[in-house]
Subunit: 116 residues, 2 copies
């Protein structure tokens, strides 16, 4: 078994087109030997967002801190706050956005390990 603090996990800027002020960590990864699922953490700085895109695997989210929103495929927005869980189904177009002027938005985003 492995125990690690999020503070000790390397953080890298997300370079994907359509991402802004977004950073990624993978506290539970293939490298840790996870059998099925990887746990990534995304930090969106104020004004930050992930790409508005879709793919054939799901997202399972928990909001660690901050305030944001989840944009769906019609452009509608659902509020996301600390303590919320979200499930984005495969092929659903989606985007996460930080809606705070000052605070980071930090969330877990679980995916099948082959897509980490």
């Amino acid at each position: 078994m492995i125990v690690k603090s999020l503070l000790d996990v390397q953080r890298e800027k997300v370079s994907m087109d359509g991402a802004e002020k977004a950073f990624k960590q993978i506290p539970i990864s293939k490298e840790d030997g996870t059998p099925n699922y990887s746990m990534r953490v995304f930090t969106l700085k104020s004004g930050g967002y992930t790409p508005y895109h879709q793919h054939d695997y799901e997202h399972v989210n928990y909001i660690i801190s901050g305030n944001g929103e989840l944009v769906d495929e019609t452009g509608n927005k659902k509020t996301l706050k600390e303590g919320d869980f979200a499930l984005v189904m495969p092929n659903e177009k989606h985007q996460y956005r930080n809606t705070s002027d000052s605070e980071d938005f930090v969330m877990i985003c679980g995916v099948p390990k082959s897509f980490e």
Copy 2:
């Protein structure tokens, strides 16, 4: 896509032998249509613990709040605190314990959906 607050998810006492002052929620479940993985949340009250047991699937954990420990198959203990991630591999004997005199210990415990 689904968004829900943990506060709105039904909580039930864990009745399994070997569990004490332990409560379970399933914010992302088969009933939500999760394709692969379920996200459960366990709350251990002060003095609470989960069974000291093993099974053929893994646990992927994030500690939401509180202080606790993860007992391994030799009886050694690893400290768990808010912001920590843990990975318990299939067939590793394990137990989660709240080590606080006053606060709840609250953690996410992800598993393949067939074992939620």
